[in-house]
Symmetry: C2
Subunit: 108 residues, 2 copies
DNA sequence: TTCGTAGTTTGCAAATATACGAACAGTTTC
DNA sequence: GAAACTGTTCGTATATTTGCAAACTACGAA
């Protein structure tokens, strides 16, 4: 039975997943640091960001699960950096979304 | 007393707010429709999207509160469209975030 | 081995988000 | 006015998110 409703596409799901990960100011701040400095240590971030380190860990985990960052253990600390492929993918998906309206801002 | 923690900036808060609004596949789908067609009626969307009309209303409200869309009553239906200024702002904020890494994908 | 440092995981509480049907409100049509 | 149509709000249930402290793991240094 066809109700006429479209299912959502994997691309829409993926973009929403990325957007959701970006949907918290602390995570935005994390990504800005990583995007601008290539990588960063948990410790450095926890000194700058206004959250407890356990909370920071959770945000980093969230970003990792969304695929936007990756972390590697470099004793005694943990180094995080942008996940290049997925970052590029996210960039492309956001661009695609924003692209269309540019010449078309009139509300008929 | 300075704890050394930075507060988050209004820009980070704003970007996170936009991203959060984009953080659901149905809302992504809504915005794609609006971005590609200038505007759309609630009724048209509710025939396409796999959610109850009351749920659709909630998603539209969420997008409106984030500032990404605007709705006008055009009896007997309601017309929604992109909010041009805020859409452009969101585009800029996302671009700024993604810009930096492009030449810098190596994880040292 | 014991201590200290660096992060993660757990446990918990409060706040938000998601979804739906039912009830409601505003218009147009009959 | 009554009925039909369109969309929002309400009530409810459930699930997810957020934040922190405390407990825990892993590793290197004393």
């Amino acid at each position: 039975m066809n109700t006429g409703k479209d299912k959502l596409t994997p691309e829409q799901e993926r973009l929403a997943r990325f957007a959701k990960a970006l949907g918290h100011p602390v995570r935005v701040a994390i990504l800005q640091m990583l995007a601008r400095q290539t990588c960063c240590y948990h410790g450095d971030m926890s000194e700058i960001l206004p959250v407890a380190k356990s909370t920071l860990s959770q945000h980093l985990k969230e970003l990792k699960e969304a695929g936007l960052i990756q972390g590697t253990i470099t004793p005694p600390s943990v180094k995080y950096c942008i996940h290049p492929e997925n970052w590029a993918l996210a960039n492309r998906l956001f661009d695609d979304l924003f692209f269309h309206i540019e010449t078309n801002t009139e509300c008929r």
